[in-house]
Amino acid sequence: MGEELKVIVFGLGEEEYGIEVDKVRTIERMLPITRVPKVPSFIKGVINLRGVVLPVIDLRGRFGLEESVSTENSRIIIVAVGDVEIGFIVDSANDVIDIDSDNIETPPEIVGGIRAKYLRGVAKIGENRLLIMLNLAEVLKQKEIDQILEIEG
């Protein structure tokens, strides 16, 4: 038995993803978003979360997937990594589960079109359910954003 991990499960398209619960501040319904000019298109803008201005990004866009229109089920997951606090727009967020860290396997090179370095691994839950664990620090890397900016600019 490895370490027990509490994980928030959210959906992006057909896939299910997981973030450790201690990285997650809150989960919000969609809020009005103010557009910020001259940023990569996956940065949707900023929201007012109880008096604090926070940027939100579309995770699909961040992974280079096709962006979807927000629905009744869409949520903003507020995460904090290091000194960065940010909101992720996801298609749905509805579950908290415990997984054993031994059940997390190193990811294959590409999962659902996402490059492996954004992933911590793939966790097997039950018989035929796979959970993609995100490597948040890598997802939020500023350098990466600058590179994307350069390509776009």
């Binding site: 009005p32 910020v36 008096g51 960065v84």
Partner: protein, 700 residues
Amino acid sequence: MDMNAYLSMFIDESNDHLQALNENLLRLESDPEDVSIVQIIFRSAHTLKGMSATMGFEDLAALTHEMENVLDLVRNNKLKMDSFIFDTLFKSLDALENMVQDVIAGGSGKADVTHIVTALKSIVSGDYKNQASAPVAAAAAVEVSGETPQVSDAASEAASLLDEFQTSVLMQSMDSGLSVYHVVVHVSEGCILKAARAYMVFDFLERTGEIVKSHPSVQDIEQEKFDRSFTVFMISSASAEDIHKGIVSVSEIESADVTQMDRETLAQLGRRAEQAAEQPAAPPAAAAVVNAAPVAAVPAKQEPAKEEKARPASNGPVARTIRVDIERLDALMNLFSELLIDRVRLEQLATEIRRSDLTETVEHMARVSGDLQNIVLKLRMVPVESVFNRFPRMVRDIAKSLDKKIDLVITGAETELDRTVIDEIGDPLVHLLRNSCDHGIESIAARVAAGKPEQGTVHLRAFHSGNNVFIEIEDDGNGINREKVKQIAIKNGVVTPEEAKRLTDNEINMLIFAPGFSTADKISDLSGRGVGLDVVKSKIASLGGHVSVTSQEGKGSIFSIQLPLTLSIISAMLIKLGTEKYAIPLSSIVETGIIRKEQIRSVHKSFMMEFRGSVIPVLSLSKVLDCPSFSEAGEAETEIVVIRKGEKLGAILVDEFIGQSDIVLKSLGNYLTNIDAISGATILGDGQVALIIDPNALIK
């Protein structure tokens, strides 16, 4: 005991004491005969030593102890201050500062200070002048004054301790066959819980006998108001050896001297006590001082009369203050910002609902929250003194290393600025002051040749004006050599020769703030590496201020920094671009107006318009911000906002004005940094986020 709880207090207070030491040493340097200053310095050093020892920073304590030895000789007129002693003391202060910085950074405050200690010791012994005048005696005297007197002095010490009643009690107990002991307990140097150790000793003594008198008093000992030793008179039936063994078995007790007292010594003591009572000038007066300043107790005993005289002069009336954690103030500020947002929302609702009693209440609330805003903002204001006070020392050092004579005159140190600005303004000021001392003020020879006094003067002024604070640095040095500035600017590619010809005097002066510019012929330690002034300029711009310079060749220069009073709440104009709302800081708006489309002219592919007799550029805000929901192309008449950056003006085209409002500045967080033309965000009355336009980025 959790030392961390005391650490922040220790750091705060050490910084205060180091600052006081610095200031007073500077004062002493200009007036070396004034012993009262030495007293103040001594007290600061002593307190610092005590605190460091309590916190277990032994190197700190050891170094201050050596400083104390030197100062002690000075204040007893056994030693005359000279430049070597000043330099050594200043060096010691620097070393102490470094150690405290290390402690702040989470270190153990350890540092190798052997050479400074050796220098200090050589001063005490007189070796540094090769004068062997009474070194040993002096040193010994210092030792005694620093610590509670040894047993050999017990009798004379005791005279001041026992009153007639206590003496007679001791006499009577001797008559009834009990022994009377005079016990001096030394706590070991690194002991952290002195009071607790002392308590254990007392506990033991009370079990073996009866304590008649302790010095310092039991209360003072409980509050750790003693150095490293304390004295107790007790009656007991146990033997001296047993008592000694019992005390020493308490951990962290270094030694205990237990002396049995006989009738004769006691009688002597009694007589002395009487004499002492008749001469109020001696020990009783000292005791009074001890009560008044328990921390400085031991040195105060030396010259009570002088101590009393020095204290009122140094203190004066003290404003009653409390120390508050800066985070709490920030939290207060944040809460207030929330309130402000709700207030704006309420005002909106009240105008929609139009009920007179609601409007009245909202208006009252607006007034109250206006007052509250003033107070909250004031709370965050700090006098610039906290930045200025390190400059006299810095200028002294610079002057010394450059072999110049420079007098720094500070005025308006009480001027207050927002805490955030204070934190950031230090470095730019250091740069500017160094620049003035290094490049501004000439060498002594050059000054004399130019018919100026040998000593150069640098003025550092701070004052309020409207919603701004100005800080000026004026020197009576050489001024800016514009020809040289031009040549270097051309050589370094800052401007082309053609451009240089057209520049006004003021524009040439501003060239020194250009990146990669330096006029110093040789690179000195202080400034002249070509970094510095451009950093100063960008730093001040990031604080929402700007810096300018005026100069008269041969007469000197004035650097003037304009800073906003606060960075957290500003007045702004809210505007609309289609569905989006933006805020433009009022401080950079010159005028608003409406113009017809034909008034905008195309000049060389960029747009210009006439504004009050001059031609200014016109910018489309919706293009700059890539706004999808608005374009002024279809409008026959357009609203414009004329903005200013320094001397330059520009007009920006907007969709609609919403109105003026006090807004709370919010940062966009660490993820979104350096977004072009946006300086931050604010939350509007309806809860939506509006971005704040950075006008400085719009005018190039």
